[in-house]
Every structure is written in C-alpha cells, then in structure tokens.
Point group: D2
Chain length 302, copies 4
C-alpha cells in the first residue's frame, strides 16, 4: 500500500484548504497537487509545489513587466522556437517539487541527475518501514543478449518463481534481523546508521526532489526513454502525465523535439542526403560502424 | 524613473487578479509580489514568484506527508537547528524569482553567483534604453587606503563635480553614438550586437533571476555585508526586506547565525579561551598576522 | 599587442622547465601549454593546465585499475559510443584551464555558461589597461533582416568609417576620464570600483577559466556555431584547435555527433521517412511552421 | 583484500612510467599517485590525477601570466587571506580525481555532495564482487541517547557477536542468491539490473570521483568531522592525508580556519563579549536554547 489511511488524511487535509495568491496558477497542476500517484508495488510520486506555467517561460524569455504575452498561440510558437534552438534558460524559470517513494536501487540511478535539490528520509535518524519492491512475474526478464545493459526475454514460470522466492525470503530475513539489531523492549540496540547496512536495495526510501523544468526535461528524456530501466521509467512516465497538465505548450514542444526527435551525426545526415538523391546506401558505404548503422536504420524506420 | 506608467499599469493588472491555489502561501510575500522596489537612481528589484514558506523547510527536513508540523515555535526551533548545523538542503526547497533592473557593472558582480537561473534582456536582439547610473555626490568616495578593494573618504565637492560631469557627459555621448550607429529612418544600421560595445558599464540592464533560499542566503551574506560594494549592497538590502516577510523564521536564523555571526579560526578560538582564563593576549602572542589580529579585535568589539 | 615582452618572458620561462610526472600526459596539449594564441586585436587564449586524455575518458567509463584499455582503436570506438548515447560523465573526467583576454561584452556572453570556474581580473582592486576591441572594417555588419539577433551585410565604407571613429573616439575619451578620476600624482582619486563604470564594453578584461570536457563541448557547440556572434566564435575556434590536439578521439566524435550533426524533431523525422518513400513533402504538408521548415531544408541541403 | 595482485600489477605499471610535462607538478602528490590506501576491510581510496598546486591558487587569484609569485611565504599568506575571507574561486582552480572502493551505504551519503563528477561501476552491465563491509566488533556501537543520529556506547560482546552473525550470514545468503539468479552454465539468467536489488547496502561498489579543491574542502569539513558517521569519516581522513601533501599551504589554512575553527552566532558572540568583560553568563541569561548553549560551551572548552 503506497499510502496509509493516516497519510491519506493528511493529503486530503492539504487539498481541502484553497487559498488566494497573486502568483501564476496552473489549473492543470492544481488538480494533481499532493495526490499520490501509485508507481510499482509500494511506491508513488506526488507533486508538492510548483512555480510558473507556460506564460512564465515566455515572460522570462522577454524579461517582461507584466504578462508580456499577446495570445496563447503566440506563446506556444515562442516556446517551440526556444526548445528548437536549445535556449534552455527560460525553461529553468519553472520549478517543481515532488515527494517520491521509491526502491533504493532506483534512487541510486535517479540521484545521478545532480542539478536538483533532494531531502531524503534519514535512516541514521529513523527506522525504515518493512516495504520491499517485489517485481511482478511479467517484469522478470533475462539479461539481454544484444544490449549489454538491458533486458531480454521474460523468464519462464519456474525460474520466475524461484527468483521471487529468493527476493521475498531474503528481504524478509534481512528486515527481521535489521529490526532485531536495532533492538526492542527498552534495550539500547545497534545504531541505526549501522543496522541499515543489512537492508537490500529493493527496500523503499522516500525523498523530496525539486528541479527546474529544463533539468526535469533532461531527466525525462533519459528516463522515460525505451532504453531506461523499467523500474525508473514508470516514475518518469508518471511525472510526464503531470508535466503535460502543468505546462502543456512546453510539454508539447518537448515531446516533438526531444522525445520524438533524434540527433543524427554528420555521417548519418550525409547518408540521408545521398538516399534522398536516390543512392542505395549500405552500412559498408555509410562510414558508420555496425552498431551505429543499426541505430540509424531504427531511426529511419520510426 | 525606475518604472514607466505603462509598466506600472501592467504591474497593477497582475496584482488585481488573485486566484485560488492549494499550494503553500506566504501572506508576507504576497504583499510584495510584482511591486518594483526602487534601488539606486533608475533600478529596482521586484519579486515575480516564490515557492514555499517556513513550514515547507520543515516538511522537507522531515520528508512529511502533510504539513508535518506541530506548531510554529516547533518549526522555528527546527529551522534554527538546521541553520546552525549547516543542513542546507531543506532551505534549498524554497525558491524565489526576481525581476531586477541594475547597472551592468553591478550585474557583472552579481552573475558570479552561479547557482541561480538567469534570463537577461538581450542587447543583440533589442535596443537598450538611455538610462545610466549616476551616483549621488555623497556616494562618490576615494579609493580606500587601508582596504585595497574598497572605498575611503567621500570626495570633496569640487572633485565630485568633476567626476559627475565626466560620467554624465561620457554616458550621453556614448549613447548618442550608439543610437546613431544602430541607425534610424529606415537605414539598416550597425548590428546591435556590435553597437552595444560602445556603452559604458553604468548603463542599466535587467534580468529575471531565480534562486533557492540556501543560495540566496549565501548571496545575501556576501552582498549585504558592510564590505560589499555599495551599489550591489543596496540591492541585497532590498531583497532582505522581502525575505524577512517571506520566511520570517528562516530569515531570523540567518540573521543570527550568518549575518550577525562570525567564523573564528582555531588560533582565534585559542586566544578567546586564554583571554577567558584571564591571560592578556596580544597580536605578538596570538600567532596571528597583523591583518588577522585586527579583524579578530573587530569581532570582539562587535 | 596581446602580450607584452615581459609577459612573453614569463611564458617562455614556464615553457622552459619540463618536469617529471606519473600522470596522464597529452603530448598534443603539451605543445600548446602557456602559449598565447592571439584572438581579435588584443585578445588571446592560452591553456594553463589540463587533466586527462582520451584514455582517461575510457578508464573512467570502465572504472579501471590501470590503463584499462586494449588498443587506441578500441578506445576510439568506446568514445564514439559514449558520445552517441549522451553518456556525459566520462567526458567530465577531463578538465582544462585557460587564461583568456577578451572584451567585456564577450565576457558577458561567455559567463552565462555557469558550469565552470572563473577568476576574473578585479577592477575594484586593479587598474584596467587602455586596450579596446576595435573591429576591422570587414567585421562591421548591419543588423540582419532575417534573423532578429544576428548580422547581415557588411557596412559600406563611409558608414564603417563613421562607426570606427565613434568607437575609437569614445573609448579614448572614456579611458582618459577613467584615468583622471582614479587620480594621479599622489592625490587620492575616485575608488576604482566606481571609476570603472565609465568604461565601455569593448575594453579588455581577462580571466582564468576552468571547465570539464563535457561542459566545454557544450560551450563549443553553441559558440563555435555559425550563428554565434563573431567576436566569441573566434575564441571558441581557437579553443577547438587546442582540444583537437589534446583529446583527438573525443574531439573527432564531438565533430561528427555534435558540430556536424543535427537534431531532428518528430515532425522532421516523419517528413524524412515520407520523402524516402518517394512522397513530395512541402511546408504546407509537413506540419512545420515556416521557420522550422526553412531550417529543416537547410539541414537536408547540408 | 582491497586490491588483487593483478590490480596491483596494473597500479605498479602506471607508477613505473614517469613522463615529462610542462604543467605544475606537486611532488607531494606524485608520491601518492595510483597507490591504493586501504580503508575499512575491503575498501580503498587512491588518487588518479590532479591539477594544480599551492602556486596555482595564487596565480588564479592574481590572474597572472607566469608563476606570478614572489616567494612561498608570500603565497601562504595570500592563501590564508583567501580562506579567511571566503574567496572560494581560486581554490576551485585545483582539481583532483580519486578512485574509491566503498560500501553502498557510504556511497549513498557521499553522493549527496553534488558539485563533483562521478563514474560508478555499473551493476546493470557488470557483476558485483562478493565483498561486504563487516564492521570490527569495536565499531559496533549502540544508538546514541543524546544525539538522535549518532552512535553511543560500544555493544557488549554477546550482542556484537549476534550482530556480526546476522551481517555475515545475510550477506552471504543474499549474494548466493544473486549469483544463482543471474545464472551460470550457459543459461540466460535474470537481468543484472534486477538481480542487484537483492544485495544489501554493505556490499562494495567503486567509482571515479573528481572534484575541485574548494568543494573537496567542503566535503572534508563535513565528513572528516567528529560527528560524521565513522564509515565515511575514515575515507575523508585518508583523503586529508593526501591533500596535506598535495597543497600544504591550502591544507594548513583549511585546518586552521575550517576544521579547527567554529562559527559563532550573534548571540554567542554577544556572550563572549560579556564574559570578557567579567560577566558570569549562564544558559538562562544567554538567550540561547539548551542545545545551542551546550554546543557553545563545547566550543569554549575546545
């Protein structure tokens, strides 16, 4: 269960008290505020606060005194222009803060995006809950044979069952010992900062994560991508749903230019030009390595 | 005049449309929103948007589901604890965006604080206004004889008059030529990106500047300090007035621990300990250089 | 004159004392060390120090104990793979430090790249030299009529002469007054931090600038681009010449994937696919705006 | 064993090939290059590369053409001045790269310092080794009763034995299952990116970590502090030993002003002034909370 009834009550309390503000308001984002969107078996992502909207991107680009905008379509055109020409600073003028509950091995990937602010639940100070990510059988895939760091075929039923038994059993035993070590009934047990070392990487942690829109798009491009690990991709996809409602014009430009786009090398562009002139280009005549050519073909096929 | 009537009308329009939000609201900051606070002769600083309040700092520190706070005094105590122990990440969870109009030589100092987002008015794209910072006579000081990078005595009336004549005359002439070079009456003049090179550093520029509270405090500690150049200090002081109303508890802790505090070296602490035991310590017996000792005496005198 | 004889003697002294090290050495970069490469009329860029080489990128990617490489061609392939898939962290493992002398208006553009370390010559503490950037007549171009922030045709001879007269005359007069204000012959003149405000933006400043290879490539992609302002592009091009000798494999990959490559949007990719199938696609049927379509045609023409 | 014989041979090979360079060389740091300094039971830290030395800090501060220094004592004085007045940018001009082998729970603390570059060993791509941090009995301490996130008394022998049994047994079993899940003998086992979730946080990982001297000092001040968790403090202390030999003047200033110094609040300074005038100040008359007063007394006692 991602959120307990007591936690849900706190969330409901926060959603029940609208207040007045003179700031830019995104109606689309207000609908998401505080609500925990479930991800994986016990995780969630929820937006805690945001700053700015589509118009704020344009105001910053124009350094304007007021709304500085003539019309919504005008703003959308400017936003597309900014995105196309990699003018990133106006997108940095929007900011968003999430509360995320996620397995530790996902958190370790996530934190590599350094241009963000983080406050994580402290396992030196507090006791972690007994909650572990246990994949569904259909998410248990074998090591890929073509891609050295991805997944291939889904495991057979028998092998999946064995894996799940290991994951569940080890998590339970490690947590039992964690609890025993930190001690009960008045006895002064092992320091929490030490006991936590016995916990496997599928235990859940949580944090507040704050990031500007430009860096969030960078995160989403890498982590909502088909090559990202499934367990982080589902978080990225959940965030995409929120961003789409928060800044629809910026998200539309992001989808077209980043998620749906592709960067072609000088060699690849040259091949495209030759192909458009009717030449039959092959890997051998392309100047590309086999790996590059395979990826290039993938782009042309869409 | 920092703001034209047309600009003031845009500001008034923005202040006239309160909307509903579920986000944290700081009543103190709402009063400042959009209003241009005059600084120097033509400059201003105004807050465009903000995220978070005192409670948000505590919620992030506790990674809480709801308001996560028992009382205001409780929150203030936690905030003082965080500030005292250099736990900076909860302060990073608040963000603020300013629109600033400032002379270029001030902007050049300001931009050295890199952990912030900036959109500056483009002099490649647009024409700068004929507005220059001309100091008041009482702000025209001589080079300091004790501090190699500060100011000393105020200039005499005659010398001040000569300086002001130079500043005004050169600014006017440079701007006249700037205007002539970029061309009027249909003729295609010199590119703006080139013509701007003729403008002196006291011309005004403007930007949107967005920063988190931790990094803002760092900026304020350095730039609201008595040793900062007067022309940037007045901006920092204007911002202090806003931050005080935005996050009163955090600002109080900042004043006590950063602005009003001092860092003593190991040598200085050793001297304090010896003095408290009744020893008469002099520069010679302190182990400090003359400069350090002078600064140490300044701290003890307050 | 970018460098005085006394400065050249200091540079020569530094080049005359090779020492032993166990660190990675790039022979190509050693040849550039300390030498001032002239840029514009009085500027220069020179490399002061560097860390790492092509092999260091691969060692970091492999987290290896030793050289961790089988062959140079093997390393080049890995580097191309990393560049193609936006694995930026191994490139961050190389670092370089430059000493740059440049006009202030160029410095103001440059500093917008925040992920770097900078120490600039202090005009609060020191007196700036009488050196101003005065463009060559062939670099005096009109405002572009197609691109709102670029240059168009070169000015006619008469107009160019007028511009040069303004630039030279105003710089000379402003500097004369700067000198007078800061005072000579024992008198305590205006504080330097104030007097500098009278200097136009084509005066030269200098700084030490340190950056990692990933962020340097980002800088070069934007500033060595044909759309960058000429006066910063010449610095970027000078740096390219050094980087090419420092990390030849990484620079080659950068040239192919970044400088020579292009990012196509989802719409643009769709058009390419339709064109390769024989369809005649026009702006009207492309789904792109006129601006986008013009840029897209530019990419296809190469 | 922190390093295998094969790895040691690679290290020895790198140390056996001195080359010539024109760059700044720190003899003190050359002695450390590549050598693995053991930390904890299987960990190490070793310096892979460095840029700059004490003189480089001064050259950057002076933006000088050559060595720009008159004498070593002169440089040391400047460095102390820079450190005392928080002029951080000259220290950023030195850079260092480490290879670190460390338990995952230590890595998770370490990575919170974001202003650094990191390449970690990939457990999506590679198989982790069977190496776990098992504390010595004397390092097994109870949760502190005064400090909510620290350690108190060392555990009794019996309880320590129980803890060690749990840590060893769970690590072994989890690793056995990890190995089984990823599969042997030709069978295509579970993807590595999934299997790793079964590994507890005391397993060792490794990374390349690159940071500038200013940010390294910040890391060391927090992590070499007596309040830091022992398991990260030992890494910080090992790094201190290297930095001391690399930039002795900067390290000396760091020790005096940061490690050995203390920041006193406005309230605390006021108390010191009153005490020096002979007043008997108590917690009640100090204006400080009990916690602050206790820390203040600690500073005065040294």
């Amino acid at each position: 269960m991602p959120v307990t009834p007591a936690q849900q009550a706190e969330i409901d309390a926060q959603r029940s008290e609208p207040r007045q503000t003179l700031r830019a308001v995104s109606e689309g984002m207000e609908r998401h505020l505080y609500l925990a969107r479930p991800v994986l078996d016990h995780g969630f992502v929820r937006v805690i606060d945001y700053m700015g909207d589509d118009a704020a991107i344009c105001q910053a680009a124009r350094v304007s005194y007021g709304k500085g905008t003539k019309s919504v379509s005008n703003d959308a055109g400017l936003i597309r222009y900014l995105m196309r020409h990699w003018h990133s600073t106006p997108f940095e003028m929007c900011e968003v803060k999430f509360h995320v509950k996620l397995p530790v091995f996902v958190a370790r990937q996530w934190i590599r995006h350094r241009t963000a602010n983080v406050n994580e639940y402290s396992a030196r100070y507090s006791i972690l809950d007994r909650e572990f990510y246990i994949p569904r059988a259909q998410d248990l895939a074998a090591q890929s044979v073509v891609n050295n760091q991805g997944r291939g075929e889904v495991l057979g039923a028998e092998e999946a069952a064995r894996v799940l038994e290991y994951l569940k059993g080890d998590a339970a035993r490690c947590y039992d010992h964690y609890e025993e070590m930190i001690g009960q009934d008045g006895q002064q047990g092992l320091a929490r900062e030490l006991a936590r070392m016995n916990l496997p990487a599928n235990i859940y942690t949580q944090w507040y994560w704050k990031v500007d829109l430009h860096n969030l798009f960078h995160f989403l491009r890498l982590r909502a991508d088909a090559h990202a690990q499934y367990e982080i991709r589902v978080y990225a996809e959940a965030i995409c749903e929120m961003v789409k409602d928060w800044v629809p014009a910026a998200y539309g430009a992001f989808e077209d230019y980043r998620m749906g786009g592709a960067t072609l090398s000088g060699k690849a562009l040259d091949c495209v030009r030759r192909m458009l002139k009717g030449e039959e280009v092959t890997q051998e005549t392309s100047g590309m390595s086999k790996g590059e050519w395979r990826e290039f073909e993938g782009v042309l096929e869409g």
